[in-house]
């Protein structure tokens, strides 16, 4: 009789192979944050994958999160491409987050066609480590084209979306995080000084080849480094997941939809 944990691992492996059948296992880039890596298959973001960050409200820290993830992807001399149609990007903030500005290229596309073309070209290029773009609605064939381009180029495509846009359209991304500002700061005994880290609640809503539903609270401090939430909230995390499992058993249809993306 096989050990149940081993069976679980085997089954997880089989599911992963089925879901990523067209793509062989590639190396993955860690996000630099241990708790985020634990939620992801392969302990990191696979090279050539698309990540979506969905914001629940404007100004909820989604761009900063994108830059922190991209920071790791552009080590080893690769470049970061940012598509900034509204021309609102503020580079001094990027510098304080620790992004090396000499490897940042910013594009100001004039219209949607140009933006899609530029994203396609950028993702295809092997010297580009990550592309960050704000997208509203992407048609299916455009999203598929971008996915193929990302696989070819081997970089990360990070798309930022609003919650309304992501609800109405299915997602083509490999990993999708729902991002929300944390209401209570989990660090014990911290006062509201300027230098206290910024806490975000993330929920994994789509994960190809892995498990959906992980929640984590992560912080970004004044030096542009990740801050792990203290142990107290980890217990919360496990509690939340068992509750979730019970809820999912009660509604099997819901769960199937989430796993299949």
């Amino acid at each position: 009789m096989n050990h149940p944990l081993k069976t679980l691992d085997l089954l997880a492996q089989q599911i992963r192979e089925m879901e990523t059948a067209n793509r062989p296992l590639v190396e993955s880039i860690g996000s630099g944050c241990a708790s985020m890596d634990r939620c992801l298959p392969n302990r990191g973001y696979a090279c050539g994958s698309m990540i979506e960050l969905v914001r629940t409200a404007a100004g909820s820290g989604v761009s900063s999160l994108a830059f922190m993830i991209a920071k790791k992807a552009i080590e080893k001399g690769k470049y970061l491409l940012v598509l900034d149609s509204q021309k609102q990007l503020y580079p001094p903030a990027l510098q304080s987050l620790g992004v090396p500005l000499e490897r940042v290229i910013v594009l100001h596309p004039g219209n949607h066609t140009d933006a899609v073309w530029a994203m396609d070209q950028g993702l295809r290029c092997s010297a580009v480590g990550a592309v960050i773009a704000e997208v509203g609605q992407l048609e299916d064939r455009v999203a598929r084209r971008l996915q193929l381009a990302t696989e070819q180029g081997g970089g990360l495509g990070i798309l930022l979306r609003d919650r309304l846009a992501s609800r109405s359209h299915p997602s083509w991304a490999d990993i999708q995080w729902l991002v929300r500002e944390s209401q209570e700061s989990p660090a014990l005994g911290s006062d509201a000084s300027v230098d206290s880290p910024r806490w975000l609640d993330l929920m994994l809503t789509r994960c190809v080849g892995g498990r959906v539903g992980a929640r984590l609270t992560i912080g970004m401090d004044a030096n542009g480094k990740w801050v792990e939430a203290p142990i107290k909230s980890k217990a919360n995390h496990e509690q939340a997941s068992t509750l979730r499992l019970a809820a999912e058993l009660a509604k099997p249809a819901n769960r199937r939809r989430e796993v299949a993306g």
């Binding site: 900063s64 830059f67 503020y90 500005l101 000499e102 290229i105 140009d114 950028g122 580009v128 300027v194």
Partner: protein, 559 residues
């Protein structure tokens, strides 16, 4: 309208002004602040030397219809006296032996003048048997007449049809006699030399010639003799021609004009492969490539549509229009696929889908030609062992930047550069990654994709908070700042609620204020108190209170 440029020593100075502004007394080299008293409602624009260089280079390319050897004037390290801008402003054409084709030299000058007028430029032309003399005559020969022509051009947009200013150096007269009456600036000397000469009372070239040459060398720069020789004694100097040899050009005329994009693409592809084979044998790669598409008015369709405007019968010579596309590369390349991709980007921008853009009307493509106007030997470099990754990434990214710039436009592919300025919106600027060198000779993507900056340890170890820490500056800056309603609590001296996106939202936490005062030399002083507020619904905003008029503005979002 006034164009200004930033001078390192003097601040913002005027470099050009249109006729109305000149009438009000504005001259070049005047500080910009003075113009506000003379002409308060003028439109002030920053001078863009790159756009000038691009226009000049494309004009020079088109001017190949007169002579195969066309060059842009080369400028020295120091600016020449009499010129307000330190950049090439003229075109040299080698017309040896070409004048019989146009009749005589007068007719050649007239044709050239009319051609420039058709392109929308008023040209000052000098024809001589040395480059220096031609330059001198063109720039200083008939200044008053040209100034009058320029005024009438600006007023009425009309160019005088025939070229009335003629001074062609005859072959039997002593060479250079026509230049004796010209001022000293026509010798292309720098400011210091010309000032000295003026102080000595030497204003004309004729006076300078009479001085002993040995004395000139000891008192002035060494190149003054060279300049005198070039202008007066017809010493030859080479023209930095824009392209090497005309043999690297292929042109194909189609038998019937076509509007289809696939035909154009396949023709260009064939021509590129042919050109690349020729370049391979030389061991060279292309740095600049020009694609010239001649469009012809398709008179057949005109007749069928019965438009009253175009009533040309098809037997007459149909109207022609020429479009020129140029691409420039960071490194010499003879890969036809890469060049096709760059050209396709430009064609995409100008041609819609498979057919020509509607704006072109009934014009179909009649002939397509490509020419490698600048080539360089392909160098096989041994890469550094440890930097291999970084170097190969730089090459690849340069190719990507070339492609993106050619489709999105030069100003849309930028890299950030930071400045030390307390005013947040002035603390950064975008610099385009492709550009032309200042003398207009070679176009190359900026080779110095910036290297990593040296670490400033003194700044890093400070104990006080600095503006460089995270969460002091927002990732999104809203320019211009928007007005926002803020509810201020007098007891705690902090804002308690804001109206954001329509509804009043309470503020959970505030940090600040951070006081920012800008310097008086940057215009109107900005006095602001910045607060970073966290709303209950989640967003973090960056708002400020303008102390001069006590208004609250929203300046950024910490997205």
């Amino acid at each position: 309208m006034i164009l200004y440029a930033r001078d390192a020593r003097r601040g913002q100075i005027v470099v050009a002004a249109n006729a109305t502004a000149r009438g009000l007394g504005i001259t070049t080299q005047m500080p910009l602040s003075q113009t506000s008293t003379l002409c308060p409602d003028a439109e002030r624009l920053e001078h863009d030397p790159q756009a000038d260089l691009e226009a000049l280079c494309s004009l020079a390319e088109s001017a190949q219809c007169f002579s195969p050897i066309v060059g842009i004037e080369t400028i020295d390290q120091q600016a020449w006296a009499g010129r307000s801008l330190h950049q090439p402003q003229g075109i040299f054409l080698d017309v040896t032996g070409i004048s019989p084709l146009f009749g005589n030299e007068m007719l050649l000058a007239n044709t050239v003048h009319r051609w420039f007028a058709s392109q929308g430029y008023l040209a000052a032309i000098g024809l001589a048997n040395s480059m220096g003399a031609a330059w001198a005559i063109a720039n200083y020969g008939y200044r008053s007449q040209i100034a009058k022509d320029l005024e009438s051009y600006e007023r009425d947009w009309k160019v005088p049809h025939s070229y009335r200013n003629t001074s062609i150096v005859d072959q039997d007269e002593p060479i250079g006699s026509a230049t004796f009456g010209l001022p000293v600036e026509s010798l292309r000397l720098d400011h210091a030399t010309v000032t000295k000469l003026m102080r000595l009372g030497i204003r004309k070239v004729g006076q300078l010639i009479e001085l002993p040459r040995a004395g000139l060398v000891s008192r002035f720069d060494a190149n003054i003799l060279e300049r005198i020789d070039q202008t007066v004694h017809a010493r030859q100097e080479p023209i930095q021609s824009l392209h090497d040899a005309p043999s690297l050009a292929i042109e194909q005329t189609l038998e019937h004009p076509t509007p289809m994009r696939e035909t154009i693409d396949s023709v260009i592809q064939d021509q590129l492969s042919q050109l690349m084979t020729a370049l391979d044998e030389m061991g060279h790669g292309v740095i600049r490539l020009v694609c010239r598409i001649v469009l012809e008015c398709n008179s057949i369709s005109v007749e069928m549509e019965m438009k009253p405007i175009d009533t040309q019968p098809s037997s007459e010579h149909p109207k022609q229009d020429v479009r020129i596309f140029q691409i420039g590369l960071y490194q010499p390349s003879n890969d036809p696929k890469h060049l096709m991709w760059l050209l396709a980007g430009q064609l995409d921008a100008n041609l819609e889908g498979n057919r020509l853009k509607k704006g072109m009307g009934n014009f179909w493509v009649k002939s397509i030609g490509i020419q490698a106007t600048q080539t360089a030997p392909i160098v096989w470099q041994q890469t550094n062992l440890f930097e291999r990754d970084a170097l190969s990434h730089r090459d690849t990214i340069a190719k990507l930047i070339d492609g993106l710039s050619s489709r999105l436009g030069r100003k849309s592919v930028v890299a950030p550069s930071l400045h030390r300025n307390p005013q947040p919106e002035l603390a950064f600027s975008w610099r385009p990654l492709t550009g032309w060198r200042k003398d207009g000779q070679i176009q190359e993507t900026k080779r110095k994709l910036a290297k990593a900056p040296k670490r400033n340890f003194a700044e890093e170890q400070g104990l006080e908070p600095t503006a460089n820490e995270a969460w002091r500056r927002p990732t999104r800056l809203i320019q211009p700042p928007q007005k926002i309603e803020v509810v201020w609590d007098v007891n705690s001296n902090q804002p308690t609620a804001v109206r954001y996106r329509g509804d009043i939202q309470r503020i959970r936490e505030t940090s600040g204020p951070e006081r920012v005062d800008s310097g008086w030399w940057q215009g109107i002083t900005q006095q602001r108190d910045y607060y970073r507020v966290k709303l209950e619904s989640g967003p973090w905003l960056w708002i400020y209170r303008d102390r001069r008029n006590a208004t609250w503005m929203l300046h950024g979002e910490f997205d």
